[in-house]
């Protein structure tokens, strides 16, 4: 799908960010380009140190790029200081002003913009309602819980109606249940306000459940941009497949390419069809990935064979770890039923059949 330039909220063009001087120079961002559409819930996903927060800080204006452009609705904002950018941030530690009440915090941005008092008051009331904090509007921020602080931080960043809202791992300090609640809450807020959200996280599950599109980052580069479905089911390279969800990696000899598919001969001698990552020309040997839920364990002969090494019960499903005869490890995920066990025991000889369309060949 060709992208229309006018519909992009943020365009990052060839941005580099180098920290340090001389020999101790480190490129936190290595020539990154990405377009983020209007009204999109866009996630920057990657392990710590991958450059995702650096990119967010460049968009917010807390740092300036060493090279490249950052366009907001077509206008280069890279040289502007943060207070001149119609972009607001929800900080990881919330950064609420401790000497102000909840309502004063939320109204701060509007007040700085020089909006009349009555307008500020009305907007603050509206935001308090949006995040369901009306009852606590006169509390100090130190007198409310972590989840409530999170809501205030959101309301404060949303109140000036920014063109883009930046969220820097805002859920990482919350406990599991509250985090799940806030994930849904964030989606609702994004939907209701129609503001473009750029969300930074290292939690792949959070990224998959919340995002319209995800950019997977590693060592200062964007490895792949796509919908959660793209990223999970059609990872472009090994790092992406490994980082998102659980994956089995097998080495295979490649023969016969065509129609986006290749014939891959596994170490067990069985040959299967596998899709090839876009734009990739595999040579003789390549890595084949199979998700644990796309393979099936049989007591008879399958595409692969091995011995059950470990069985881990997860409630909804069971993970069965198999040591293949080729000495590679392989995990199969099997849905649990209420009455029956998983049907296998440690040390069992088993076969593994790989479903049609389950295998993919990756760039290493």
């Amino acid at each position: 799908m060709p992208e229309q330039p006018g519909r992009n909220a943020i365009e990052v063009r060839g941005v580099r960010k180098v920290f340090g001087i001389g020999e101790s120079q480190v490129a936190a961002l290595d020539t990154v380009s990405v377009s983020i559409r209007e009204n999109e819930f866009f996630t920057l996903l990657g392990p710590s140190g991958c450059g995702k927060t650096t990119l967010l800080r460049l968009i917010a204006g807390f740092d300036f790029p060493s090279a490249g452009e950052i366009l907001l609705h077509g206008q280069d904002i890279a040289p502007l200081p943060p207070f001149k950018r119609p972009v607001n941030t929800v900080f990881q530690n919330y950064a609420l002003f401790p000497h102000m009440t909840v309502a004063e915090n939320i109204g701060f941005g509007l007040e700085m913009l020089g909006k009349p008092k009555t307008e500020v008051k009305a907007r603050v009331a509206e935001m308090l309602k949006l995040v369901k904090m009306e009852a606590l509007s006169n509390r100090r921020t130190s007198q409310i819980s972590g989840g409530q602080q999170q809501r205030v931080a959101l309301a404060r960043a949303l109140a000036p109606q920014p063109k883009v809202l930046l969220l820097d791992e805002p859920l990482s300090a919350l406990d599991f249940k509250l985090r799940k609640e806030m994930q849904i809450e964030l989606k609702r807020l994004q939907h209701e306000t129609g503001i473009t959200f750029i969300f930074v996280t290292h939690d792949q599950e959070e990224a998959l459940t919340m995002s319209d599109r995800i950019a997977v980052m590693s060592s200062g580069k964007i490895l792949q941009i796509g919908t959660p479905w793209d990223i999970y089911d059609k990872p472009a390279e090994r790092f992406v497949a490994d980082f998102i969800g659980e994956t089995n990696f097998l080495t295979a000899a490649i023969s016969g390419m065509g129609n986006g598919k290749a014939r891959a001969t596994l170490k067990s001698g069985v040959t299967i069809d596998a899709t090839v990552a876009e734009g990739f020309q595999p040579k003789d040997n390549a890595t084949v990935v199979v998700r644990p839920e796309h393979a099936k364990l049989t007591s008879g002969k399958g595409d692969l064979s091995g011995t059950v090494e470990n069985i881990v019960y997860f409630g909804t499903d069971t993970h069965i770890h198999v040591r293949l005869d080729s000495s590679e490890a392989f995990t199969v995920r099997q849905q649990n039923t209420r009455s029956a066990g998983c049907g296998f025991e440690l040390g069992d000889r088993v076969g593994i059949s790989i479903g049609n369309d389950a295998a993919q060949i990756l760039r290493d």
Binding site: P82, F83, A95, P98, F108, R156, A157
Partner: protein, 268 residues
Amino acid sequence: MASRFDIRRQTGFATIAMICFFALYLPIITLVVYAFNAGSSIAIWEGVSLRWFYQAWNNNQVVDASIRSLQISSVAAIVSTIVATMAALATTRTKPYPGLGFKYAFINQPLMVPEIVTAVALLIFFSRIKIWTGYSGLGYLMVAHTAFCIPFAYLPIRARLENMDLSLEIAAADLYATPWKAFRRVTFPLLWPGILAGLMLAFVISLDDVVITEFVKSGGQDTLPTYMLGQFRRVITPEINAISTVFLLISILIVTVFFFISRKKDQE
């Protein structure tokens, strides 16, 4: 729980604590008690009286020295706190660079150079200026006091700035606050208890300085401490006790007021 080390349960702790308390407060208590002595000795008790308070109040030299002390200390405390606040902002709100450590040392120089050295240097320096300008007012003492008060005001302000969450200022900038507005609305209110602490400290340090004052002052510019020191060379009467007691009361009052102001700030 029982095995946890607690210094309060160590043998002798209570004894040591009591000795410290007596060493600190017994002389002060004695001083205050003898301020009310009816006799003219600071060691022999002859009954309760307020006569030494009256006498001090009616002693023009005491009153003049007190007023002079308050003038010098107020100016020195306010000016040094302003300078210290700016210095603290400049040294903490910046990326570390070579030479920053040297700047810390430069600001804190009065803490490291022996006071007597500064005093002699100022005496020589100011006497030159006096010859050139002909001015010989209290300004010299004010400048001298301001200079050595700066590090005392600087330390609590810098400590407060360093403990302050930097993301608060970044958040203010993110919410459209210009650097000046961010300072006025976020940094300054949060820094205020530190500034107040610096101001108090500078005031108290200036108020009881003897060495530098003694060297820098011109004739008839006695501050309260140098006046009292001069009195000790003659006859010692409980008048000294009475003056000290009044000043003790004033400093307790100031510290109490400060305590309540800063506590209220933190609760807000």
